[in-house]
């Protein structure tokens, strides 16, 4: 039986991990929604109307009203549809989840992006930055706030799994495209097993695009970036 209509529409982009976060959250909560793929090279009037400041995806429209910023959308979904909660119940655990979501977007994401954007000279330093950030996560999983857990959310996926997980598949993609080792299972055993378990989840498999598509996309972007930088020389 189809879930009742919640009057939800998501403006997103198929290769955007921020969009995937919202799609995954909607799927975990069993919420039906209409999806509209945005051409980021030619943004729709709807996107520009609803997100005039940042002009970015994802944009969630609930009863026509926009909710912006992926993590804010996740909070909104959790507060409006509290079944299958993404956030933990305890205030301290919630603060920790928020803090680590912040670290993902503030440190880890940009570090991974920097590897992808780096010319060959800068690559080693960019890779080291990623490793440094992965060490932070590994340490929390080993003997910090998330020690002993299968997922950051506990036995089930929570907000931090969604935020970190939707994006971590780029690690494997960039490893191949850039020919670098980002996640050595021996150096980061807990992160590695967490990611594997995350990617095995049915809902996650349904959301994350096929690796070939991601590879093709990444190769295309990399070519373009290198093409641009060689023009600048």
């Amino acid at each position: 039986m189809a879930p009742p209509s919640a009057d939800l529409k998501l403006l997103g982009s198929w290769a955007s991990s921020y969009t995937h976060r919202v799609q995954l959250a909607l799927k975990l909560k069993g919420l039906a929604f209409e999806y509209a793929e945005e051409d980021l090279a030619e943004k729709s009037p709807s996107l520009l109307l609803h997100n005039p400041i940042y002009k970015k995806v994802p944009v969630l429209l609930h009863r026509g009203r926009p909710v912006l910023e992926s993590v804010i959308i996740l909070h909104y979904l959790d507060e409006t549809w509290p079944d299958v909660p993404l956030m933990p119940g305890d205030p301290y655990d919630r603060a920790l989840a928020r803090f680590w979501c912040h670290i993902v977007d503030d440190k880890l994401g940009p570090a991974v992006g920097a590897v992808f954007a780096s010319p060959s000279e800068g690559q080693a330093a960019a890779v080291e930055q990623v490793h440094e950030n992965l060490r932070l996560v590994e340490r929390e999983l080993r003997d910090g706030a998330f020690a002993g857990r299968r997922f950051f959310g506990g036995d089930k996926i929570g907000v931090l799994d969604v935020v970190l997980g939707c994006g971590s598949y780029w690690l494997a993609v960039f490893e191949e495209v850039m020919e670098v080792k980002l996640v050595d299972p021996e150096a980061f055993p807990l992160f590695h097993s967490w990611l594997r378990d995350f990617e095995e989840q049915e809902e996650v498999k349904a959301i994350i695009p096929a690796i070939d598509r991601l590879l093709e996309y990444a190769r295309g972007v990399r070519q373009m970036m290198l093409g641009l930088s060689s023009q600048q020389q």
Binding site: I53, R65, L68, E69, I72, H75, Y76, P91, Y92
Partner: protein, 226 residues
């Protein structure tokens, strides 16, 4: 509601707008806390231990457990002391999303433009940053109109999440105004925010912890070595 001595401690420094935020939140809730002032140019062992990832203030220690990042601390305070004082975030999920959005905007977009004025090396750069800052304030003026619904604060009758996020920068905004002769909160450009700024700074929960402009000016000169 008082808390047992030692139960709530805040690691911070008086000039920091980020530190101001949890202080206002704790004051709004009537929570007693110990303020641990960091020494300038020297990070304490406690800070390094409590926030190893960023090594930055503010850090709230609640029963010795650290909470980091100013607006995360504000939300934590709101949740832990939910039954005392006033709510900082509104109850409605959509309103909450709006408050969160504007708080992010203040830090990601508006603050850099304000700071850009201070850092600007040429008159041109200064003017450009000022234009950006004013443009941002115009957006915040609209947001204020929408969120306040005719009342005093973004949070309505009481100080809310966006008030804290934006209000924290008012001390430094005044310093920049004095240093550059530019009026940031201009009654003509953003009349509602100009009034709001006065009300925010005059509020019980804010006035004791908002640093005085002269002291901040002295501090700024010392830091800039001028």
């Amino acid at each position: 509601m008082a808390s047992a001595a030692g139960e709530v401690r805040l690691i911070g420094a008086w000039p920091s707008p980020f530190v101001l935020r949890p202080r206002v939140a704790l004051n709004l809730k009537g929570v007693e806390y110990e303020f641990l002032q960091e020494k300038f140019g020297e990070k304490s062992e406690l800070l390094l231990r409590s926030n190893p990832v960023y090594k930055k203030i503010p850090v709230l220690l609640h029963h010795d457990k650290p909470v980091c990042e100013s607006m995360i601390i504000v939300e934590y305070v709101d949740e832990v002391w939910a039954t005392t004082g006033q709510a900082i975030l509104p109850a409605d999920p959509y309103e909450r999303a709006l408050h969160r959005f504007w708080a992010v905007y203040v830090d990601d977009k508006w603050f850099p433009s304000m700071f850009g004025i201070a850092k600007a090396e040429t008159e041109e750069a200064k003017a450009e940053s000022a234009e950006q800052a004013w443009a941002g304030l115009k957006l915040l003026e609209e947001a204020f109109e929408k969120l306040s619904k005719g009342k005093t604060f973004f949070g309505g009758d009481t100080i809310g999440y966006v008030d804290i996020a934006l209000g924290a920068y008012l001390g430094w905004a005044k310093v920049i105004e004095q240093m550059t002769g530019l009026k940031l909160l201009d009654e003509e450009k953003t009349p509602l925010l100009a009034v709001w700024a006065e009300r925010f700074c005059a509020h019980e929960a804010v006035k004791e912890v908002m640093p005085e402009t002269e002291k901040l000016m002295e501090f700024a000169k010392m830091r800039l070595g001028k």
